[in-house]
């Protein structure tokens, strides 16, 4: 027998309470995340007639409808920028978030045949379904640039902070997505709850109206919704709707989304052991 290198030893034990997150395994399987994202995108563009056009059509059509009903008919204020670009800038992170959230919540149940047959860190599934939305986001972002040129929005330094708010969108989507993905394995009701939740959530986020419409005394409560911070951040970064960013409020939103993410990670890990037996 050849001289053998020491092999990694894995201990298989009954889980006790909250176990470590096992991020090492996730790192080992990082290529799988990439392949799953690649699969989602590839399949979607192969199966749909309009392919990439959907990524543009969806936010643009929504923008048109919102502009007609909220901007024109209801005359909702828009912080001094043209209403279409005002709402489109908000729709950009919002649609990324709502799609990511719903895909992540479904990810475990949709891939149950994999879960019951092969080991891999289960975190790969919600993670990759969230990241897959980035392609749509990138396409929709190009449209925003077009709109900004059309409305002659001046360039500003704050635009460079956009990746930070994008990251915050993903963190929030992952945090909430992890909770619901795990819950969906336990209770299939979650699948029915998700569209309703997404709709409800959209109205407590400043998408069709500005955050400045919310009375001052409710502001704190309002920013407990991490997506409020994200959307206001996007508008501040791209359009300069408010001269100074309410940094305390944004930090509140960031704090909430981090709490959701960390608790989501632990809950997911805690439930992970049951997935193969239950899905």
């Amino acid at each position: 027998m050849t001289e053998s290198t020491p092999l990694p030893v894995i201990m298989l034990k009954p889980p006790k309470g909250f176990s470590a997150l096992n991020l090492r395994d996730l790192w080992i399987y990082r290529e799988l995340v990439f392949f799953m994202i690649w699969r989602d995108i590839k399949v979607r563009y192969k199966q749909t007639l309009l392919g990439a056009a959907w990524a543009i059509l969806q936010p643009v059509m929504t923008m048109i409808v919102f502009t007609i009903f909220f901007g024109n008919l209801a005359a909702v204020p828009s912080d001094g920028v043209p209403y279409p670009i005002f709402t489109y800038t908000a729709l950009l992170p919002w649609q990324l978030f709502s799609k990511a959230l719903q895909d992540a919540a479904r990810s475990l149940v949709a891939n149950r045949h994999m879960i019951t047959k092969v080991y891999f860190p289960r975190l790969v599934l919600p993670l990759s379904s969230i990241m897959a939305g980035l392609v749509d986001f990138a396409i929709a972002l190009v449209v925003l640039v077009g709109l900004m040129i059309y409305y002659q929005t001046p360039l500003r330094w704050s635009m460079l902070s956009l990746p930070l708010f994008l990251l915050m969108t993903l963190i929030t989507a992952l945090g909430v997505g992890l909770w619901f993905a795990a819950l969906n394995v336990l209770y299939r009701d979650i699948a029915y709850v998700m569209p309703f939740l997404a709709q409800f959530w959209m109205f407590i986020t400043p998408i069709v109206y500005p955050a400045s419409m919310v009375p001052e005394r409710w502001r704190m409560l309002y920013y407990l919704n991490p997506m409020t911070g994200v959307v206001e951040g996007f508008r501040w970064a791209m359009l300069g709707t408010v001269p100074t960013l309410p940094i305390n409020m944004i930090l509140l939103s960031v704090g909430v989304s981090l709490v959701v993410l960390v608790s989501g990670l632990f809950y997911f890990r805690f439930m992970e052991r049951l997935f193969a037996d239950m899905v």
Partner: protein
């Protein structure tokens, strides 16, 4: 001293019946349950799929795992391949585990063969660079070169299987765990796969192989573990273990009854009840006379109608080689008459002719399926019986005859 590859200590896996763990639920169902549990502390019935299983496996050995349906084989493999976690005890795994509990996991019909190789490889834990390096070899092994850039939804099921197995066969883990995946595919490709697995074992890797195919187990493994009701009942060199499995402790006096835990949920709406062997008018005979016809009876229940159902038997010798298979609707007229079987309790009975089987030990298997639609239930080793050759043709010479049959043929001697 040889290196240890797997060490299991008092491994156990518990499932809770009729409660949370076996199936998902809706909130409406589970809310009242929470209250009930608080009230009477009732936790639901507990099933130990595996219990007190301890063993050590040395590096480089090839071990077969055999046992009936529901004996805990799949649970053991699932624990060792980390799909599920044990409820008690522990296992130590030295090295990376490649698990083949199913071939083609994660295959997507819209993707091409080549794309699926990458995806499936990644799911099985291969790195992109490994796949790049072995791509040609994988494609070559699969015999589907011509269609490698076609979406696999256009593949036949055989082609998909071949592609899937090729990916799996090129995994290079230190420990390979294989479940019944060779049961499908054509005979030539099966042989090729078995050959590939033999190569794997000669490269110093540890292989755990679960199969109902005794001849594959005999050919591939040196040692085997027999599981029964979640326990290890025997560990021995393969021929001995197979012999033990086929004979000892499993013969149930000519009658085999299936209890609920041996019937997978996928069998529904088919529910097997019993298989019986009768001879000379006596029921439940473990030993039958070859000079009398043998009656084989299958009792089962349908909870809802099934179309195209066929219920039948396999007959196997003690070396695990098939002698024949026969179904109750083999007769086209019968098949038309029973195109759809209504719910109810049934008995399908057949007659194995007298003066036909050689003396020795035989294994009867059961299968209930709708051809190309669904296999409802299968138990390859349902029942063991002995054939007593007293009075059989040629018995006046004290010698054993070769082959599984000892037919009474219509001989004439003509003097020219």
């Amino acid at each position: 001293m040889a290196e240890i590859s797997i060490r299991a200590h008092k491994l156990g896996k518990q499932y809770r019946l009729g409660s949370q763990v076996l199936a998902y639920q809706t909130l409406r169902e589970s809310l009242p349950q929470w209250f009930q549990r608080k009230k009477n502390g009732h936790e639901g019935e507990v099933l130990w799929a595996l219990r007190d299983v301890s063993f050590e496996i040395e590096r480089g050995s090839v071990i077969g795992i055999i046992g009936r349906n529901g004996a805990g084989k799949s649970t053991l493999l699932k624990i060792l391949s980390r799909v599920t976690e044990p409820s008690e005890g522990y296992a130590e795994i030295h090295g990376r585990v490649g698990a083949l509990l199913e071939v083609g996991t994660g295959f997507h019909p819209e993707l091409t063969g080549r794309e699926n190789i990458y995806l499936n490889g990644a799911i099985l834990g291969m790195h992109r660079s490994d796949i790049d390096r072995k791509l040609d070899e994988i494609i070559d092994f699969s015999e589907v070169e011509k269609f490698i850039d076609t979406p696999i939804k256009r593949y036949s099921s055989g082609m998909q299987m071949r592609l899937a197995f090729s990916v799996a066969a090129h995994l290079e883990p230190e420990i390979l765990v294989v479940d019944e995946v060779l049961a499908v595919g054509d005979a030539d490709f099966q042989r090729k796969c078995l050959g590939k697995m033999q190569d794997v074992s000669t490269e110093g890797r540890t292989v755990l192989f679960v199969s109902h195919n005794m001849s594959a187990i005999l050919r591939l493994t040196q040692e085997a573990i027999v599981l029964n009701h979640g326990n290890i009942v025997k560990r021995a060199p393969t021929p001995e273990a197979v012999d033990f499995y086929l004979a000892e402790g499993f013969a149930e006096e000519g009658q085999r009854l299936w209890c609920d835990e041996e019937i997978p949920p996928s069998a529904a709406p088919f529910r097997p009840i019993a298989m019986r062997v009768q001879n000379e008018g006596r029921s439940f005979t473990e030993s039958v006379r070859s000079t009398h016809p043998i009656v084989v009876e299958l009792e089962y229940e349908l909870t809802s109608p099934i179309s195209g159902l066929r219920v039948g038997i396999y007959l196997m010798n003690s070396r695990g080689e098939y002698i024949f298979a026969s179904f109750d609707t083999d007769d086209p007229q019968f098949f038309a008459q029973y195109a759809t079987r209504d719910p109810g309790r049934y008995i399908s009975r057949c007659l194995v002719p007298a003066d036909w089987l050689n003396e020795g030990k035989y294994i009867l298997g059961m299968n209930a399926s709708a051809f190309r639609v669904k296999r409802y239930f299968q138990d390859e080793h349902a029942l063991v019986f002995h054939v007593d050759g007293a009075g059989a043709p040629g018995k006046h010479w004290v010698e054993s005859r070769v082959g599984p049959l000892r037919p009474k043929l219509d001989w004439r001697i003509l003097k020219q």
